[in-house]
């Protein structure tokens, strides 16, 4: 086995390694130099599209057809997407392996799986007129540069919203790149443009000149962590500056006359410059050079660079610290000694124990390092060796937490499976950590590697429902078997699996035109709500409505109802909702705000006269004009005619109209009398008042005759009339009239209210006149009333009449002056017998 250090190169003070991932990647005939190549992050798929601007050898008509070919890193063709949509100006990937294709006219296709299904959208903002020149992508968005130098950014793909960034200055753009939003201060994407000799930084609102004079820069590249920018000048110099452009950190002169074709960061510490068949890896002012036989492509990743030629796919990265520590020639780190110990052990040499004793104090540290180093190793042999070392070391230790060891074993099994050339996902350990196992499974699903995905998700105890659903959807799409057996097969496999969404499978069946299968599958969906949208698109409207009601989610019900209302004529629509009270209630409650005509029709069809009449009545209330109001009321009462149970309602409506008419008369008579010029504002209008209030206002302004007319017209009860009159007279302070009223022998409401109201208005004199009339009350209460009027003497008389000495004594306390002696006299009248 080759030493792991064989492919290490020292650049500056650090080692870099080139790991060969796969060989024989592409067909030898494939002229890589004529292709646009884009690779998905985290060792994802490659998309190749033949660059139309370059000449190429003719290989028959079939091969000449333009296409986008999606390959795995191992060169396995995953999918060929035929392309006839015009010239491609941007080809890129998102973090979750969506392929983005941007054409010159500004249309974007987002291929969300690797199987050629896509969602299109357009950039707008003038992209169509001016044409797209180029695109730069980041993990979940991209920026397109138009031919007029305008920049359009798209920050998400699920709901894409192309946004125009600030307008950059005119002039030729030598190169450009972007800083992803996650790494900028403004948290929105920033674009770096090299024009003239300087660099502009452009975000959503600003375009700022960084005042450089060393340009133009032919290449610019931002490090994966967004902190550094590499600039390549047209005289062959490479600069590394902070992304805030505050200081220059590094400078390197390539002394090359030809411009490199590409420049990318390799991790966060080195920059790779690529010529046609040569790569320079530059760090800390030093460089190492790699030479190839053919054309090379660089595909940057978070922790390194993938190098692609026709023959090989390699991974170029800085040697991770633990690995360097363990393997570096001459290393005396504990891990390296532990590794050696295993070697000795295999050779049955006693040195093994010597080694262990040597690092005894640092043993657990050594074990940790070996476990970590195993993770960073691509070669299975060395993974094993390192794990063996770790296991050996930990067997010597008394107390060691093996969680990390176990976890690493699991991780490595997964990684090795994914790296296998038939799968072609050469994830590094760090990439895997960042990608997360769930996303890895997603990628496997996209590649239709269901078995592996299932195995991994079982192995890592992750939910597997997505895998089953995707598998079944695929089955539905591709299987040529008859529908029944497909359904049986799917149900058989997927029943009892938690979380499986049959709705989704049914949808793909429906999309494929297999309606019957879709219906059948949908029956297995336990979530009623989920079924609704599909049922709607399947035109199973009533079932959809029932399911929506079943789910209890009013939003879903509304949704279906809106759909139905648009689709159906009124009569069948009403028939549909009629038998479903919840639907009916929802229609009613929404129509009252939005569509009263619908409601009227509904009540009419349903023969709900009272509701219909009420609706008209509430419309009458909304009318401005008196006549219009009366008309509406008339309509409302017409609806109720000849229905017996609504006789009362009808009578009341009739009353309403009569009252309104009468009030109008009053308005005309009383208010225009006072001011012939028609100043109707001279008094408050009667219209709109209730009967009692009308009476109140009339009596207040002493229109007694009219008030009596109202009373008789509407049969206002005597009691009510008396009360209203009392309140009106008191509030208008018509004391004389009240006195007149008080002369009556009897009052239907008694005289107490008169006393209370008048007293409440502060007229004690008048109030007192009512006291003697309150014959129904006890003497004590009457005494109290007198006192309230401040007439203690009268109160005394009352008490005397009742022969209540006790009460008199109490009164004595309140009395002053002459009343005091009076009271004394009264007490004396009652008392003597006792003395």
């Amino acid at each position: 086995m080759a030493k792991p250090t064989a492919d290490w190169e020292k650049v500056g003070t650090r080692f870099y390694r080139k790991v060969q991932l796969y060989t024989a990647v592409f067909d030898q005939d494939l002229e890589l130099e004529n292709y646009l190549v884009a690779g998905a992050p985290y060792s994802g798929a490659l998309a190749l599209h033949r660059d139309e601007e370059k000449v190429h050898a003719y290989r028959g008509a079939r091969a000449a057809k333009p296409s986008i070919d999606v390959y795995s890193c191992a060169g396995k063709l995953i999918r060929r997407i035929n392309w006839e949509k015009g010239s491609i100006k941007g080809l890129g990937w998102s973090e979750d392996e969506k392929l983005l294709v941007v054409t010159e006219d500004g249309t974007v296709r987002c291929y969300y799986d690797l199987q050629g299904d896509f969602v299109p959208f357009t950039l707008g903002h003038g992209a169509e007129e001016h044409g797209v020149k180029a695109c730069r992508f980041w993990s979940n968005g991209f920026v397109a540069l138009l031919n007029n130098n305008h920049l359009i950014s798209v920050a998400r793909y699920d709901e894409p919203r192309p946004k125009l960034l600030a307008i950059p200055p005119e002039g030729e753009i030598h190169s450009w790149t972007l800083i992803p939003p996650a790494y900028t201060l403004s948290r929105s994407v920033e674009v770096l443009l090299s024009t003239d000799k300087t660099i502009y930084v452009i975000d959503a609102s600003d375009s700022e000149d960084r005042n450089y004079s060393e340009g133009p820069f032919v290449h610019m590249s931002v490090s994966p962590n967004g902190k550094l920018v590499a600039l390549y000048t047209n005289n062959g110099k490479l600069w590394v500056v902070g992304s805030d452009f505050q200081e220059t950190l590094n400078e390197y002169d390539s002394r090359s006359k030809t411009m490199p074709k590409d420049m990318h960061w390799c991790g966060n510490n080195a920059v790779a410059l690529a010529w046609e068949d040569e790569i320079h890896l530059v760090t800390q002012g030093a460089a190492t050079k790699y030479y190839y036989d053919g054309w090379v492509h660089l595909i940057p990743d978070v922790d390194g660079i993938r190098v692609l030629t026709n023959d090989v796919c390699e991974f170029l990265q800085r040697v991770p610290d633990v690995t360097e520590e363990t393997f570096r020639i001459g290393s005396t780190s504990p891990a390296s000694i532990l590794l050696d110990a295993v070697d000795q052990l295999e050779r049955k040499s006693p040195k093994a124990d010597d080694n262990i004793q040597l690092i005894r104090p640092n043993l657990s540290e050594a074990v940790d390092a070996c476990v970590k180093a195993a993770g960073h190793e691509f070669s299975i042999h060395w993974q094993k060796q390192l794990l063996k070392a770790a296991s050996f070391g930990k067997s010597v230790l008394d107390l060691y937490n093996s969680d990390e060891f176990v976890e690493m074993c699991e991780t490595l099994r997964v990684l090795n499976a994914a790296r296998f050339y038939e799968i072609g996902l050469p994830l590094s350990y760090e990439q895997y950590q960042r990608l997360t196992p769930e996303k890895l499974i997603e990628r496997l699903i996209n590649r239709h590697e269901y078995l592996l995905a299932l195995r991994i998700s079982e192995y890592l105890r992750l939910p597997s429902d997505r895998i089953y659903v995707n598998w079944a959807s695929q089955k539905v799409r591709q299987s040529t078997e008859d529908e029944e057996s497909i359904c049986r097969l799917i149900v058989q496999k997927l029943n009892n699996k938690p979380g499986v969404s049959f709705e989704e499978i049914a949808r793909s069946a429906y999309d494929e035109g297999r309606v019957r299968l879709a219906t059948e599958l949908l029956n297995y969906e336990p979530r009623a709500g989920k079924q609704v949208p599909l049922l709607l698109s399947m035109k199973e409207d009533t079932i959809a409505l029932d399911k929506a009601i079943e789910s209890g989610d009013t939003d879903l019900v509304y949704h279906v109802l809106l759909h139905l209302k648009k689709k159906l004529p009124l009569a069948p629509f009403f028939r549909t909702i009629n038998s479903r009270p919840m639907a009916m209630a929802l229609v009613e409650s929404s129509a009252i705000d939005q569509d009263r005509e619908l409601l009227k029709d509904l009540y009419y069809q349903d023969d709900r006269r009272l509701d219909g009449s009420n609706l008209l009545l509430s419309e009458a209330l909304a009318q401005e004009h008196p006549q219009a109001r009366l008309d509406k009321i008339k309509l409302a009462s017409r609806l109720l005619q000849d229905s017996k149970e609504n006789a009362f309602q009808l009578k009341m409506l009739d009353e309403t109209a009569r009252l309104l008419r009468m009030q109008e008369h009053f308005d005309k008579d009383l208010h225009s009398d006072a001011s012939p010029a028609g100043m109707r504002t001279s008094g408050p209008s009667f219209v709109g008042l209730s009967i009692n209030d009308t009476l109140f206002e009339l009596l207040k302004s002493s229109h007694v005759k009219r008030a009596l007319k109202v009373q008789s017209e509407f049969k206002v009860p005597e009691k009510t009339y008396w009360w209203v009159r009392l309140r009106a007279l008191v509030s208008a302070r018509h004391w004389n009239e009240l006195e007149e009223v008080g002369k009556a022998r009897k009052s239907p409401i008694g005289w107490e209210p008169f006393f209370n109201e008048v007293l409440g208005a502060g007229n004690t004199r008048l109030a007192s006149t009512f006291v003697p009339k309150c014959t129904g009350l006890s003497p004590r209460e009457r005494v109290e009333m007198w006192v309230k009027c401040g007439m203690v003497g009268k109160a005394g008389e009352e008490a005397l009449k009742a022969k209540d000495v006790e009460c008199l004594r109490e009164l004595r306390e309140k009395a002053t002056g002459s009343t005091l002696s009076e009271i004394d006299k009264m007490i004396a009248q009652l008392e003597p017998r006792r003395r």
């Binding site: 919203r161 948290r187 929105s188 939910p463 429902d465 997505r466 938690p498 979380g499 499986v500 969404s501 336990p526 979530r527 709500g529 989920k530 209890g552 989610d553 009013t554 939003d555 509304y558 949704h559 809106l562 009270p581 919840m582 209630a585 409650s589 929404s590 705000d593 939005q594 009272l610 009420n614 009545l617 509430s618 009458a620 209330l621 009318q623 401005e624 109001r629 149970e645 009362f648 309602q649 009341m652 409506l653 009353e655 309403t656 009252l659 219209v687 709109g688 008042l689 209730s690 009967i691 009692n692 209030d693 109140f696 509407f714 009691k719 009510t720 009360w723 209203v724 309140r727 409401i749």
Partner: protein, 658 residues
């Protein structure tokens, strides 16, 4: 699979706050915030205006006013997305701003509590869906107090019972489901009322759907979360419809009366500043920059941050005066103690440290004394006692016709309509409707007294089941059992009327209405305080002598028969988890360890009034004293009062026109 966390209302508030700020942070730069009027108060419970400003909110607008302008590029709408009306209003405003368009606006909509399909559809039709950033703000429960969670759905009552729109039920189910996902399944769901039953069914259904594994559910909370909770004992759902009379009565607790007279919204009441004095200048309480509040009103915060208030709020108003006196005297004496000559510096320092507390208490004492005096003005009035008399007589089952004269008189005296309607509805509710003749007379009197537009009001009340004609009348079939509460039976068996009420040292929940025990809370007692309730039956004196051993009876037993007399469905469901998971959890919790202090959640669908809250707190206190370590948390769709309940039906327009 850690043991379920105990239900903590503070966490809910904190989460709501964080979520909102995070959403606001997502909109870069300054922004104008447009929100529904009803949300303004709700929001003030969660986050201070000043904090919102820190997060870039420049100006506030009410959606209803339709006046948002182009002063900021970013416009954020915050609204409930369930009603099409709101969505349409937002769409129109967006279009208006776009048309006026000097500024290229960035629009965001945060839907509370969820983004609905209907909103998508409407926005799409209005052509704005592509122009706005839409997010969800999953705001369900908002804590009003440590033991009181409200969804603050102002329309819940009218939606549920007038329009029969079950949105509130569904949202409640969602909210409770979230609670279950956090704290585990309610081991028992028990309740009363048709809508309550529907809610329970929804919960069971949602549970099965979660088990079926919706991706959005299983995220975060693993399916293991759905084992019976170890911290929550049961969920009791009471449908408002089951007990309408209670809300119709005048609440007689301090908080209840404040609500009746001044109104409480989101723990705040607005009182004329002539009563309590102007707001101290340095502390403008949470006030949205609406500038619509008239200057003469002062907002008073009513929550547990005011210690004095928390001692007063649930007391019967009759004793509030003496309580205030006591506090005043205590403050006085401790304040005066500073004059005592022989004070060491240490004592002095201690005293000074307490000073701010004194001052706060002093201020609050001043406010509450002023409030109490104002309330006394109402309670002493002749009309108040008339109303109370009618209410008490009706509740006690006196012949309703004997009260008709009083009601008639009150109408003639032009009392506020809600007050009169409450009396009529109360009569109708407790006696199963009015006789045809009486009903028509009263209807006529109402129309005459308050205007004919109230034909609509009356028909609304009929739909609500508040004011109905007695069954068995002309052309009406006799009511089926279970659809109407048989009050005479219930009143007797559940002891709704308690003659001797000790207001200062209450011994029964009846103190909150000075003699009437709210039926809704009695129902809860049927479940939680079986012994006590049973003891009320036997003579009260001997009850203490022979306490039956804590029966194992669960659910409604032994009160099923009485409960059946109450309107609406009765149900009792146990939720168990998968056997394996349950056992695992038991192993984790150890044996009996989790028994110590369990929570009972009482959910009022359609609203709860403050007197009921006070009564439930009283029950909770009793449970604690008995050593039954249960904690009672009250949850509801919103706070209601009698005026609000009848107000749902009242037609606001008049024939006077605009």
């Amino acid at each position: 699979m850690a043991p379920h966390a105990a239900l903590n209302t503070q966490d809910i508030a904190e989460k709501a706050r964080r979520d909102l700020l995070q959403l606001l942070e997502g909109v870069r730069g300054k922004k104008n915030l447009v929100l529904e009027k009803s949300l303004a108060d709700t929001l003030s419970l969660i986050v201070k205006t000043s904090t919102l400003r820190e997060y870039g909110v420049d100006k506030f607008y009410f959606l209803e006013n339709d006046n948002v302008d182009s002063s900021q590029r970013n416009v954020v709408f915050l609204a409930r997305g369930e009603k099409a009306k709101t969505v349409i209003a937002i769409a129109e405003q967006i279009n208006r701003l776009r048309r006026s368009g000097q500024v290229d606006h960035e629009f965001s909509i945060f839907w509370i509590p969820r983004r609905t399909l209907v909103s998508n559809q409407i926005l799409e039709e209005a052509g704005v869906l592509g122009e706005v950033n839409i997010a969800e703000y999953a705001l369900y429960f908002i804590p009003l107090a440590d033991d009181l969670l409200s969804m603050e759905l102002d329309d819940a009552f009218s939606d549920l019972y007038l329009r029969r729109d079950p949105t509130a039920t569904f949202l409640a189910a969602k909210a409770l489901m979230l609670m279950q996902q956090r704290h585990g399944l309610f081991p028992r769901i028990i309740g009363k009322g048709d809508n309550a039953k529907r809610l329970a069914d929804l919960l069971l259904r949602m549970r099965s759907e979660v088990t079926a594994g919706d991706a959005s559910y299983s995220n975060g909370a693993s399916s293991l979360g759905l084992t019976p909770s170890s911290s929550i004992e049961s969920l009791i759902i009471i449908d408002r419809e089951v007990d309408l009379p209670t809300v119709l009565l005048t609440q007689l607790t301090y908080e209840g009366l404040i609500d009746e007279i001044f109104g409480i919204k989101a723990n705040q009441t607005e009182v004329d500043s002539s009563i309590v004095g102007a707001t101290p200048a340095q502390a403008p309480q949470v006030s949205s920059a609406s500038s619509s509040t008239p200057a003469l009103k002062r907002k008073i915060q009513l929550d547990s941050s005011d210690t004095l208030y928390s001692t007063l709020q649930d007391s019967n108003f009759a004793i509030v005066g003496s309580l205030l006196n006591k506090v005043a005297r205590r403050l006085q004496s401790s304040y005066e103690s500073r004059h005592v000559a022989s004070k060491s510096t240490a004592e002095l320092r201690e005293f000074v440290a307490k000073l701010p507390g004194y001052q706060a208490e002093q201020a609050s004492l001043k406010i509450h004394t002023a409030l109490a005096e104002e309330i006394i003005k109402h309670t002493r009035s002749d009309i108040f006692s008339r109303i109370l008399e009618v209410q008490q007589n009706l509740a006690a089952g006196a012949d309703p016709t004997s009260q008709h004269d009083s009601i008639d008189e009150l109408i003639s005296r032009a009392l506020p309509l809600p007050t009169v309607l409450r009396l009529l509805c109360l009569e109708s509710c407790v006696s199963g409707g009015l006789k045809r003749g009486d009903l028509e007379t009263f209807k006529r009197a109402i129309l005459h007294g308050y205007g004919h537009q109230h034909l609509l009001t009356l028909s609304g009340l009929e739909k609500l089941g508040l004011l109905t004609m007695q069954a068995g009348g002309l052309g009406r079939p006799a009511a089926k059992p279970g659809t109407v509460t048989n009050y005479s039976a219930v009143r007797k068996n559940l002891h709704l009327i308690v003659d001797e009420v000790n207001e200062s040292e209450p011994d029964d929940i009846a103190y909150v209405f000075s003699g009437y025990a709210p039926l809704s809370v009695r129902l809860v007692q049927c479940i939680l305080q079986k012994q006590y309730l049973a003891s009320l039956g036997s003579s009260r004196a001997t009850a203490a002598a022979a306490p039956p051993p804590q029966s194992a009876a669960q659910g409604w037993r032994p009160f099923e028969d009485v409960v059946k007399q109450v309107k609406g469905a009765t149900f009792d469901e146990a939720q168990t988890g998968e056997e394996k998971a349950v056992r695992a959890r038991q192993a984790l919790n150890g044996s009996g360890g989790g028994e110590s202090r369990k929570t009972v959640v009482v959910f009022f669908l359609g609203g709860v009034c403050r007197a009921e809250v006070a009564a439930l707190r009283f029950v909770a206190k009793r449970l604690k004293e008995e050593g039954v370590g249960r904690r009672v948390v009250i949850a509801t769709t919103g706070m209601v009062s009698g005026d609000g309940v009848v107000g749902a039906a009242i037609e606001k327009k008049t024939f006077g026109g605009a």
